[in-house]
Symmetry: C2
């Protein structure tokens, strides 16, 4: 039985062994750069952890785990072009270090590379995993499109927002867990329970992200907080604050968010004051707990030895307790 | 036995039946737009034609044919962003009609959609086709990267150019033929012969394109010729002209190509005069014939009934005799 940290290390080591061609270097150097730039390797580690619930032989799940990790990094690469993000994991993004055309094309090549690795999944498990992978990949695109739409969409409801983060973030985590289970020989019921666990934890993870951006202690969070407030991002916090405000407060909040002439520090302070008045922090924490409990219920129903469940339970606790 | 035109019609009809979701519309409308914008449907027709060499039941090859067509249209969509092309098939390109972000993302979704269709290939033929598809898709990206590199690369040799068009254009045509054969139940030797046929015809097709851009009669070609000369594109013609020029002529030719102050008509006329002096037209025609003969040799070696071969032979003749 392997814990998540060990599995993350296994993945990191496997990534350095990935066979990526050299020529043309403008195509493959960015791929190597994107894959070797670190990150927490959570998705592939979850593939292996989920597989490990059902078998001690996790080695044959490594190409599958890598396929998910490459796909995830491909989405980051293209998202960074679309969001015009200059930095990812403390390094210039590919479209900045090279150029947008190279970022588009090397991203495309990464997606194909993910499918190439998928091809190493043993025949008897291939088909359901391939179908799940395709369905999930398309949903991730849908999530990214909704996310872009929300930038200019005037009213975003809580349920629209939750659906967006489900598509953009959760379904991939859920698919990693389900595919890992499948390759480990799990029955369909177990696969579905793990999918639900991933879906709920993925949403909890994103809500925790929203919460930390505004409420983390700066030193622990590692980056300045309040960034979502400054950019006016429609997070779970803002959407709920607007929902719960009376007309006057709503006008005040919208005015604050849209006002570019107020100094950042003051804007953050005043928005947080409104959030506090409306108990947005507690509301978000409760919502995270809800998703966490739903996730835990799926794990409880799993018919694997209790000690095996600890890996995923610890992972879930880390997510909701993380401070950065 | 079906002829190519009939197969193209079958494909066009199948494309209108493609199940493409509606929401989010910014993701799926461009996909529908790109797929319904016409084009010659050569690649999917070749999948079916190749399958039809070995079986009369070509219906089960339709999803495979569509997968190749969607993949091809995805590459056009992303290439158009990279090349900053405003028009494709007489309509605004996706990145112009919508915006570059939508074009990137809907292109990504199209590639996934291609894999979704691939999933309908019968199990017993799936694996070799999937591996060929992945290998080919990656090569197409390599070809596009070389093509972009050549824009700023000072010297491009004939063999570098031929390798680029092989990757960018031919391998996909070759893969369509080979995959069609595989799904039709062909043996490996036949599949390889058809692959070689496609490889040679793909190169012949692209060289014919280069030739027509400069030498087509304008009324037949449908667009003004000399475009490659105006943009200074490193075509088979220019690369060979530079290769064959003595130092003085080379300086003159480079000067002409790089000179932005000469009126287009005069530039075209003078470059063509140099080409004529160096017999570039004949040299290109001979090269096309060479590839055509190699392609025909592969067809001759095929162990299928002679009458069945006519579909592909007619297709090949049409390519080298086309005037536009």
């Amino acid at each position: 039985m392997f814990d998540i940290n060990l599995l993350q290390d296994i993945i990191s080591s496997e990534i350095t062994k990935l066979q990526i061609k050299n020529e043309p270097k403008e195509l493959y150097d960015p791929m190597r750069y994107a894959m070797e730039s670190g990150g927490k390797r959570i998705r592939p580690a979850l593939v292996l952890a989920s597989c490990n619930l059902f078998t001690e032989e996790v080695g044959h799940a490594i190409p599958l785990a890598l396929a998910f990790e490459i796909f995830h990094n491909f989405t980051l690469l293209h998202d960074d072009i679309m969001d015009n993000s200059p930095i990812r994991r403390n390094r210039p993004t590919v479209h900045v270090k090279w150029n947008p055309n190279i970022a588009i094309l090397s991203g495309d090549a990464m997606m194909i590379k993910a499918y190439e690795l998928l091809s190493k999944v043993p025949d008897k498990h291939f088909k359901p995993i391939f179908d799940l992978f395709n369905k999930t990949a398309l949903e991730v695109c849908e999530g990214q499109q909704y996310d872009m739409n929300f930038e200019t969409q005037k009213n975003v409801t809580e349920s629209e927002y939750l659906n967006m983060i489900k598509l953009k973030t959760s379904v991939l985590i859920a698919a990693c867990l389900k595919a890992g289970a499948t390759i480990g020989g799990a029955d369909d019921t177990s696969g579905d329970l793990l999918y639900d666990f991933g879906l709920n934890m993925g949403i909890a993870f994103q809500l925790q992200d929203d919460l930390l951006d505004t409420y983390a202690k700066t030193s622990e969070f590692g980056k300045k907080n309040g960034n979502d407030i400054i950019t006016g991002k429609k997070t779970f916090l803002l959407i709920n604050a607007l929902e719960k405000s009376n007309p006057e407060l709503k006008t005040e909040l919208n005015g604050l968010i849209g006002n570019k002439s107020i100094p950042d520090e003051i804007k953050i302070k005043q928005v947080i004051e409104i959030y506090n008045k409306l108990h947005i922090k507690e509301l978000t924490e409760n919502k995270i707990q809800e998703y966490y409990f739903s996730a835990m219920k799926s794990i409880e129903k799993l018919t694997v030895k209790e000690e095996k469940k600890h890996v995923l339970m610890t992972f879930a606790e880390q997510i909701i307790n993380r401070k950065k």
